[in-house]
Symmetry: D2
Subunit: 181 residues, 4 copies
């Protein structure tokens, strides 16, 4: 199997984000090359788009999506939905020419403080990207609950059942990324 | 009945937004005083919050919500969900001290290009604000479809059935804002 | 305050259902009179409706909703949504003359095996009843997770924080049911 | 390409259902062999399951899903969600041994009276089947609005853009059903 390229988009801008730790664990489980996409975009504004065009970092992320063999969307739960930086990225990306997501294998993951691990965030995100006609994996779910206790000092995910689910999800993603028809 | 204060939050930053036209029509139907809340916030970032505190415009909007007798959330549909500026506002507002939304009468409205008028945007928004324990009206739904054809040159909503639904929704909102128990 | 009448609808047909236990705890916390609605209806079928009319038990439940001061919908989570008997009841009820739910104070509760306590079931149910224009409470959420461990041999809910949330939700419901404007 | 077997599940029990017409149009567009699954099951009840086991028609449908190369779920919109017979089928199917849906290519379609064509029903259904780990297509969306005007006397879907979307969705489904890795 060729060396596959994975792109990760982390919905939290916080440097020490648990979702970023989860993203990096997912990248290790996936294998291949990994790159994190930058979503520090201006707040979505059609007047801005009209005046100045699509911001350069948005175009860069769109190109990175096109170039990747697979993408992971890793989101915290803010107010029982996915994060505003993630929504902002999705909205800007929907403005570029063409659809960078078309047939792209994509998996959703989440880490959250509460006991549900971002279940509602994942559901809201699933619906908000549905129109792009990705190959959006349905499972297994990786939703890390009480996330502050689930990563060690090196940012490694410690729980066995989480690690197994993550490995299985990344296996599925590699399988989609490797398919030939 | 006292002169009630209505706060409007428009999910589109575009100056000529149809959602802003709809918001202003709603304000006329509501009667009383009206103010539009400003949601031109930085993109939500906990590191920024830690370094500089909650941005002043967020605190101002929180104060405006507290002071209002009722609030309307008027959102376009971006990618079959509500807009990123609206999500960003909700996420920042959830960080202020106290809960400005508690028991606040709130109505959701939408205007969109497509034939469904923002039905999915409204549903996603309804769930994303549920935890704030507003008094969130359930209807009637005001979802203006194919919105570019539904406002005249003066920004007035022209369709009779939309106007009736809007008037009824604002009546309900005034009723909630006026209740004494 | 008058003796208020509460109607409970339990989404599980299982006699020993934890959701029924939760419903009965809610009834105790609400105070006043309590009645459980029967939802053992035929599977929804418009041909059946055309041939035989709306089934008598559906009409009875509609009348019970009209007569009640408030209603609680208590649902298990089946496949990350609310239960089929509950959906079936909602669909049949939407066929009776008039809208028995109009302005009715309604609260949603859930008990489930998993760690999230039915969070997704509650969200799906919230959207599926939104059009009836109830006064649908937004919180506090009562979602009993790992429910088999949370009720004692007498069917009493044991956890303190659950009991507090339940009491608060029922206080809110009584407040809505008692309002005079 | 081999002659593929498609299974259709129609969420309406009504004999003259527009959703059944849509299902049959989808079957024609898919090509290959077609079978409609029967979902006239008893209302889901764990006590019944304990006493009598899983009903024979549920086991038959599970076997039909296993045997099919692809499945279409075609649902009306009842109360802004998918139909109760469909939910009942999903709930019963989740009780059989093994998971008949695993990796199965599945597409969702809808026909509805309103202007949105079942957009909210599709979204609710998408979430309610997510856990089965199907290969659930994300698009293109086939949502037939004002459905009573969209089928002719022979039950054929007349609108060109609907027919194109349907053909494209069925092409995608065949592609998934034919993949070899």
């Amino acid at each position: 199997m060729a060396d596959l390229a994975l792109l990760g988009i982390c919905g939290s801008l916080r440097r020490g984000s648990y979702n970023r730790m989860l993203m990096l664990e997912a990248a290790r489980a996936f294998g291949g090359r990994f790159e994190e996409g930058d979503i520090r975009f201006p707040l979505f504004d059609e007047d801005l788009e009209k005046a100045e065009g699509i911001p350069a970092p948005v175009e860069r992320l769109a190109a990175a999506i096109r170039a990747a063999d697979a993408v992971i969307l890793v989101t915290p739960e803010y107010n029982q939905s996915f994060s505003s930086p993630m929504k902002n990225a999705i909205d800007w990306l929907s403005r570029v020419k063409g659809n960078p997501w078309l047939r792209k294998p994509v998996a959703i993951l989440s880490a959250a403080d509460g006991r549900a691990g971002g279940a509602r965030a994942q559901y809201a995100l699933r619906l908000a990207v549905n129109k792009f006609r990705m190959r959006l994996l349905t499972g297994p779910e990786v939703m890390v609950a009480h996330c502050a206790r689930e990563f060690d000092a090196d940012g490694r995910l410690t729980g066995e059942s989480y690690r197994r689910a993550l490995a299985e999800l990344m296996d599925e993603l590699r399988r989609e990324a490797s398919r030939t028809d």
